[in-house]
């Protein structure tokens, strides 16, 4: 994986984000960027603020300071439904599929948008079910009856229905069996081929290094280090510094 040319206009720019949860200062000035079609990893120990960064980009958390720019325009403070419609999709850490809705209905929440013709919807669904045959089989089943891995697939599939320019993926492999982990890897590759950018928060270092072009390292609520994935090995001292016990 080669680093993309940094002259491309970045898709998402996060500048000096500060957020609070009650009185706790969670993000202490996070800055990063993701270019179009790039896969960018965000690594760090538990609790450093990786998920909060994604949530802030998605508008689920309002920052007290700092900006989020999407294609050059500020989206800071916009409500999440507007952000989703602009082309940013979010796959949260605990999947959070709609358990009482069927698989089809879950997908429809992303599919039923303005300006999408019925034909296009069928096309998208067709392609999706090719990638996720298991979901096709279970399409009329309630989301809550799916296994953990299938729910993760559904969460990603649902996000893809928004035809996003970037997907914010929060720990997709958490709690999954190794076979499912490699499926996730396949999905990330597929999305990359489709020119969908990904901001990937993960604890699984090998997967992140293999799938990403660039990696950010967070510690204590801020980005402390940044490198091209190709320059890092799994046992790099940097990895131990930011992720080691």
């Amino acid at each position: 994986m080669t680093s993309p040319a940094s002259s491309a206009e970045p898709l998402i720019v996060v500048e000096d984000l500060h957020t609070f949860y009650g009185k706790s200062h969670i993000l202490h000035g996070v800055s990063l960027s993701v270019g179009p079609g790039e896969v960018v990893g965000l690594l760090g120990r538990n609790g450093v603020g990786k998920s909060t960064t994604l949530k802030t980009i998605m508008g689920l958390v309002t920052p007290t300071r700092g900006k989020v720019l999407f294609q050059g325009a500020s989206i800071t403070g916009l409500p999440s439904h507007k952000i989703a419609r602009l082309g940013i999709a979010y796959v949260p850490e605990d999947r959070r599929i709609f358990r009482l809705l069927t698989v089809m209905e879950n997908l429809r929440t992303g599919l039923d948008r303005h300006g999408v013709t019925e034909a296009r919807k069928q096309e998208l669904l067709g392609k999706l079910f090719e990638y996720f045959p298991r979901l096709a089989e279970r399409r009329y089943q309630a989301g809550g009856t799916l296994s953990g891995g299938e729910q993760q697939m559904l969460a990603i599939a649902r996000a893809m229905m928004l035809e996003p320019k970037i997907i914010l993926l929060d720990e997709p492999t958490e709690g999954l069996m190794p076979r499912m982990v490699s499926q996730i890897r396949e999905i990330i590759h597929m999305l990359h081929r489709e020119r969908v950018a990904i901001l990937l928060v993960e604890q699984n270092v090998p997967l992140t290094l293999e799938a990403s072009q660039r990696v950010y390292f967070m510690e204590k609520g801020a980005v402390r280090h940044h490198a091209a994935a190709s320059e890092l090995g799994v046992n790099d001292p940097v990895i131990h510094q930011y992720l080691g016990v």
Binding site: S80, H81, P92, R96, L101, E105, T109
Partner: protein
């Protein structure tokens, strides 16, 4: 007392029918209330006033157009719009705050709306002519057809609501928002508008109930109070946010009250529903008709 020997079966049968009829209207009112609560966590104190204003608009449109059905439709749409406007102005700013503030805000609304009706229409009750006259023989009583019409229409409206929620595109939005408001919004669903829409639907249903119920009693500014109280009992007994439960509870409570009024005066019949409420709170606080206690 030879109570069992003297059971007036025909009166009981009549009261059963009456109970079901009233129960269906109560179900219509309560389902709007429980829908609003289930989806928005808002206890709409002004629901009774929406019912009352719906009835008044029914009176006016009936007078202007001569058609009950036009009155029903116009009233439903008008109050739905009023509901949307009220939600946008007074409830949206309260999103995310302590849910008790919405009780206060809707209580304030109910005072304003009720007094407005008093000022606008005066204290004298108005009448809505029933659209379907004529009676049929129910035992020894001449039973009005119209009451059956009410029950059927209410059932139809509730069924329509159920189908809309289950199959409509916006039904999916509403159900997704109920389950996980945050993720629904992250999927691009405009949650604030879903809330407004749901409130409007609830308001419209209350208005329709008001128009349907109008011919049975006089339409006056205070008619909403009794209904909202009973509707609250129904919603708690049926399970907050549980549509099916509310309908069953509405019929259950109305039947009990109908039977009770064989022996006591109707105003005391509310004690019956209150006893049911107390028992429910003691033994099954999540609701009598909730499938599995949580």
């Amino acid at each position: 007392m030879g109570l069992f020997a003297d059971i007036p079966w025909d009166i009981i049968a009549i009261q059963t029918v009456n109970g079901i009829v009233t129960g269906m209207i109560l179900a219509l009112v309560a389902s709007g209330l429980t829908l609003i609560f289930g989806i928005m966590d808002v206890v709409n104190f002004a629901h009774g006033e929406l019912f009352m204003l719906g009835a008044y608009i029914g009176v006016i449109v009936l007078g202007a157009s001569g058609s009950f059905w036009i009155a029903l439709v116009v009233s439903t749409l008008t109050i739905a719009l009023l509901g949307a406007a009220l939600q946008i102005t007074t409830l949206r700013p309260l999103l995310g705050r302590d849910p008790l503030t919405t009780i206060l805000a809707t209580f304030g609304l109910s005072l304003v709306l009720q007094n407005y009706a008093l000022w606008q229409f005066g204290p004298v009750a108005r009448k809505i002519q029933e659209p379907v006259s004529g009676h049929f023989k129910l035992f020894y009583l001449e039973y009005p057809w119209y009451r059956l019409v009410i029950a059927l229409l209410s059932a139809a409206i509730i069924t329509g609501l159920y189908l809309f929620l289950k199959y409509g595109r916006y039904g999916v939005w509403i159900r997704a928002t109920t389950q996980d408001r945050v993720m629904a919004q992250a999927m691009g669903i405009p949650v604030p508008w879903v809330h407004t829409g749901v409130f409007a639907i609830g308001a419209g249903m209350a208005a329709a109930s008001g128009v349907l119920f109008g011919p049975l009693v006089g339409v006056n500014h205070a008619m909403g109070l009794d209904w909202v109280l009973k509707a609250f009992i129904v919603v708690v007994v049926g399970g907050m946010g549980n549509l099916g439960g509310s309908i069953l509870a509405a019929i259950f409570i109305s039947l009990l009250e109908a039977y009770a009024s064989i022996w006591v005066s109707p105003s005391q019949a509310i004690i019956v529903s209150s006893v049911v409420l107390i028992l429910t709170l003691l033994f099954r606080p999540t609701g009598l008709f909730v499938p599995t206690p949580k």
